[in-house]
Symmetry: C3
Subunit: 343 residues, 3 copies
């Protein structure tokens, strides 16, 4: 990063509610409390690190309104409702400066079929392929080496990073961001076992991705056997996540890295899957339910449930059992002692 | 999808054994029993949904011969041996209409080295790379941005989707289908620890994929340290699956999403791995054996075995223990009570 | 492979300390002890296979100095300190013959922005994209369809295989090898929950990869929220591994396939993660610690620790509990019997 902001500029970006201390140093980088050096901006995003503020060498610190310490000389405290949100605003500003949005137009090396409808304000980067009847909406960016299949549709303000594959007939609504290597619209995994062989069931449905969805690098989303695989508005999916055919994911869900969802499973709104969690097929997760990291869930859970472990059970029970399991060696000894006594 | 078939046309495609009811409506889409609307084709593929047939609004329904209900007005029942297979036939017909096979030839943007042997009936799509001495057989399709390395061989009727990488010397037999982003022939993960450093062991073997194999999006198959990593005829591999070097997979296996197989492990024919299952290295899974979803298996299992859990144990035992584990809090109390009594 | 070496040539490559037996056959392939045929080179890399040496049909065998058997007629034993290392030397020789290093230069189909600095000895293969201000060092190879983002830096002797994405501002030191489909520099997975929506926290840091690192196919490494995600010198990462933002990995670590490391976690030098292991965020793994395959670790562990299971606990304890768990059905019966007696 090669940036420099005065603390006054930063206070203005973030709408600081109170400022304490002063400095003439510009801010040139961002760092965690404990590793920050002069010239850095830091922040208290998690109460657990509160004690590190006093020792931080950062030039400017974003702090919650209830923080009570005083800045050191040549150091500025900027008080805000939510330091993490404030930091995000600073980062967004830096992001714009560092990676400006590419200009509209189609790179000469891209292969765009004439029947495709590319909005004049869209950017089709080098070595992209856009097939028959595909539509690319206003301001959307295909960065490089992106594949958009037949009749696929991309709304406004989407960003498809290098190596993304959007299969035929699949659609992205608006402001969807696909990290590098994402595959949307691979075939669902469906076979019938006939005379000793697995006969392929054609997968002729699509994938529909809602507004403001983000999908992480190399994640895969299968097209429906028929009809639709759906990812609801505002849902965020991490890297290397697998979404099988006919899955329906609600709005504003969080799916952490390497989670997997089997076919025809439905997630309500605001569901959270921990990393490497695995869901069986044809089940339903109620609104706001949560599955712990690495958990394996084979049956439906109601709204608000929080499950953990494999097979997944209610979180508090799972935690209790995990502790008791470590006491099994002792339990076996105790039972043996009882048996001896009882002889 | 923009299709329309009469119910008589569909009855003919699938060889319906009996027809009940009638309609003049064409079929324009396919949907599940409970979500079907007029104009949709639906089917009873799983006995569990039998009760939904009577309420389904589908215009045409594919039903097993033993189904005893009657169609509603303006609705058609088509009776067949296996409704799922019949549906697959309809889907295959739709698939052909929607995604016609590309014409033979090499797209001008593809980079095909003159020493490569590309059959005149093959299709090399835009921005593909085909290196020295590679062979592409009759009717095979490299859709777009596919990489085929030196001396790699592709048989007849294969389909490599966008972003596939087929490494040097690796081979696909006939009718192999590789979903987007599949990597065949990455280096095996092999190092010797010498003087505090991991020294790379060159991986100079290949990967050989048999007839009618399908591999899911972004799955990875490593080339052998030497000799061959093998996937047998008819085996189907889902998305994000990892196959390590020198693994030998038999015929007609099923490997569900995110499963992983460590080096030099051998799977017999008809083995099934559940999603996220993990296999240790240098073990053997007998013919027709099955590993549950998320299970972790570190030792060999005989033909027909069905194991689950981590460490994986026989399925029925694992189920029983999973139930008993949930009763551990109670067991600890019971032992405590016994101890008090015994004092 | 189409190679042929005399046994004398091989003895010279590897610096054999002793030779027994003789043959006029050249070595044309490499195979495991049990599957080797005449014309093959084989080796005893693992004492477990010692009994297979006597029956091996290999023409030449690499054996440890303490092996005591005699070769058959027309067979040669080559004795060395470490047969696996010796084999690696043979393989490296074969590798050079089979896959010669590409010549320097930029393929005409590559899209290299004029502001990029490409060393004259580097090779930019077909259909690569190199963006503004990127630097490619001496002897580095971008094989095909590789993307190198703005201001990214690649040192000397690196090899980026087909489909690799190296994001803006990220850097590879020297002799880094990225297998096909690796993504370095995708956005970290960071959101703030504000008014019912997940607001993206811009991820403006980078990824820094040290000397001699190798990363397996389709693995993903996220850029830091700010500052750096780091992979230390000599670390080897297998396929489909997920490294989240702000992770710091030490030197000479081994991360097996499908392992996942959550955000801001730190691995000391020489840490080993088994396949499918999952680490929580914001924890520290001490130098030389080891996490078993499939284990789930949510808290820090000290140097030298070896943990297993989910939740991960010390390896020996986990093994003992795994055994006791299988005896739970029996334990429940024993407690029941005690209860009856105590009535």
């Amino acid at each position: 990063m090669q940036v420099a902001y005065t603390t006054a500029e930063i206070a203005a970006f973030i709408g600081a509610q109170r400022i304490a201390g002063s400095t003439r140093q510009p801010v040139r980088d961002i760092a965690a409390l404990s590793s920050a050096r002069p010239g850095d901006l830091s922040f208290l995003g998690n109460a657990k690190y509160r004690s590190q503020v006093a020792d931080s060498a950062a030039t400017a610190l974003l702090l919650p309104l209830d923080y009570t310490g005083e800045p050191k000389p040549d150091q500025v405290f900027l008080f805000v409702d939510n330091p993490s949100v404030a930091l995000a605003k600073v980062c967004a500003r830096i992001e714009q400066a560092l990676w400006p949005k590419p200009l509209p137009g189609i790179h000469p090396s891209a292969v765009v079929v004439p029947t495709a409808k590319v909005d004049a304000t869209a950017h089709i980067g080098p070595l992209c392929v856009v097939e028959d009847g595909a539509q690319i909406g206003p301001g959307s960016v295909l960065q490089a080496s992106v594949f958009v299949g037949r009749e696929a549709r991309i709304g406004e303000g989407c960003w498809l990073m290098p190596g993304v594959v959007l299969g035929a007939g699949c659609s992205l609504a608006n402001r969807v961001r696909l990290q590098p290597g994402v595959v949307v619209g691979s075939d669902g995994f469906g076979y019938e076992f006939v005379k000793g062989r697995h006969e392929k069931i054609p997968q002729i449905g699509v994938v529909e991705i809602g507004d403001d969805v983000e999908i992480g690098a190399n994640s895969t989303l299968d097209r429906a056997r028929f009809s639709r695989t759906v990812v609801g508005e505002g849902t965020k999916i991490d890297n290397l996540v697998q979404i099988a055919h006919n899955v329906v994911i609600g709005k504003h869900c969080i799916l952490c890295a390497q989670a997997g969802v089997s076919g025809s499973t439905t997630l309500g709104d605001y569901v959270i899957l921990g990393g490497q969690a695995g869901l069986g097929g044809h089940i339903t997760l109620g609104k706001g339910s949560k599955v712990g990291g690495g958990a394996g869930l084979a049956s439906s859970i109601p709204a608000g449930a929080y499950v953990n472990g494999t097979p997944a059970i209610p979180y508090m029970l799972e935690r209790r059992i995990a502790v008791l399991q470590q006491r099994l060696p002792d339990l076996f000894k105790r039972v043996e002692a009882l048996e001896k006594k009882a002889e």
